[in-house]
Amino acid sequence: MSLPPHLHTPSSPHIHAPTSVARLMLTVVIALTPAAIAHVWYFGWGLPIQTLIALIFALGGEALMLRLRRRPLTPYLLDGSALVTAVLLAFSLPPYAPWWIAALGALFAIVVVKQLYGGLGYNPFNPAMAAYAMLLISFPQEMTTWALPKVIGGPDLDPLQALDLILFGHAPTTMDALSGATPLDLVKTQLAQDITLGETFSEYAHLFGDFSGRGIEWIGNWILLGGLFLLYKRAIAWQIPLAMLGSLFAIALVFYLADPDSYPSPLFHVFSGAALFGAFFIATDPVSAATTPKGRLIYGAGIGILTYVIRTWGGYPDGVAFAVLLMNMAAPTIDHYTRPRVFGHAPKD
């Protein structure tokens, strides 16, 4: 016996938010927009061009893999996940890196890290960060040639000049004069030569702002704002960024208080490199992160501590990408040991 249609009531929940993968991805892109505008303000047109290159190759690679795997093209191509991967990757690249860097990174992220593992939702590693790590390991020279922010004499190229530089390597003036070490890089190399932080900060005063590198720290502020927007939208869980930044701050504070001449301040660490970006936009990737509330705290804290360890004692100036990948590996185990008690069941003793 079936009821007439107007009496048919579906099972609960009766009120639900129309969220979808595409909507979530769009929220992430919106949250990144202010930081992207700041990026263009400080570093010029590199970021949009890199995003476009990465997007073209990400979509191309995704279409190819979906075809090979005999999956429908349109729903997966239009879910926006390739766009987010492209934007995240472009943010991590030097703004004027040659085009094949972004192309190779996008293809690696989509084809190897995402689709070979089964597509969105099955990838154990964050695609953008795995691609970044691959690029950093394979092409150290291209990946560490960062342009200086415009406020301190970085290149001021119009869009066409930027395109010319990225696609064909035609620099209007030699790039070496316009590129420089990032604050993290500088601090590391100076410390390696037994130069104290105080001396470094006074010698290169024009490079540093209030907490970290001039220009760079301001992009950090807009990233923070975008991250707060994501929290407000409930697009990401608060535990991961809080635990990551908190642990990074705490461990940096301990070493800073013990020896401020060899260990930069906690604020410097939080506002340098990819810490804020990683905390809000990378580590919170719902697929590759831990998913239980307690697990997220452990996961985030692990990333913060590993980031500090790699920055301070590792071979690379920044360690967010490697820290995220390492904790991605640990996420299933963390989830296994932090499963919440099932409602209605007695706690195990």
Binding site: V112, I137, S138, F139
Partner: protein, 230 residues
């Protein structure tokens, strides 16, 4: 004769030590950076495999069951020591490149697996033939992986072949791309894992295609031969 042919097919393809058994991965992944290194280690491993299989097969009735593993290891270790001394004497440069991985052939589980599962139960001739075929199967994968990583990583093939075969082969190096910037990932350990994974996948695809074709030509549903398991 068909027994020998079966052994050859098993060793080279169906039960390939590197692609199917996935044994001996440590040297396989570590030494496949160039074709020369891969070929050197592959030939050394093949030599040890043939020798170990033959020796164990000859003495298989004298070994007490409880003591068989130590005896196998002693046989393999003696052969590896011989290979190591020979390389030290005649191919010293290659010996320096391969380094620790020559003595480590002792611990290559592909060798002791063949000794335990084949040589200990078979006559000397098939045992030696099995060692040769397994060794060549291992060498083939090693060389293929070496070629992939060398081509992708530094844009050359057969570079420094003189280390292995003598100065006459110095000019055999093929430069695939001039001014190649190099793709460091292929040379580094991750490249070995990616490369091996691709080779295993390629083998599975070929097997699946073949199985489908046999099913189509023989609709009686006779099952494609499953790889003999260890």
């Amino acid at each position: 004769m068909s027994e020998l042919r079966d052994i050859a097919r098993t060793g080279l393809w169906e039960n390939n030590p590197a692609l199917v058994q996935l044994l001996g991965l440590c040297p396989l992944l570590a030494v496949s950076g160039t074709v020369t290194n891969a070929l050197g280690l592959g030939l050394a491993t093949t030599f040890v495999m043939v020798g170990a299989n033959l020796t164990v097969s000859l003495i298989r009735d004298q070994i007490r069951d409880e003591l068989r593993i130590p005896v196998y290891v002693l046989v393999i270790a003696s052969l590896v020591t011989a290979v190591e001394l020979l390389m030290h004497a005649y191919r010293h440069d290659l010996y320096k490149v391969l380094g620790i991985f020559i003595p480590l052939i002792v611990t290559n589980c592909a060798i002791i697996a063949r000794v335990e599962s084949f040589a200990a139960k078979n006559r000397p001739l098939p045992a030696a033939w099995d060692g040769l075929m397994m060794g060549l199967g291992f060498t083939a994968v090693l060389v293929l992986l070496g070629a992939m990583r060398e081509a992708l990583g530094q844009g050359t093939l057969l570079s420094r072949l003189d280390l292995l075969l003598g100065p006459a082969f110095r000019d055999l190096e093929i430069v695939l791309a001039e001014d190649y910037r190099g793709f460091l990932l292929a040379i580094l350990p991750p490249g070995a894992f990616f490369g091996l994974a691709l080779l295993v996948a390629a083998k599975n695809v070929i097997d699946q295609r073949r199985a489908r074709r046999t099913r189509e030509t023989a609709p009686q549903g006779d099952v494609a031969e499953a790889p003999s398991s260890l």
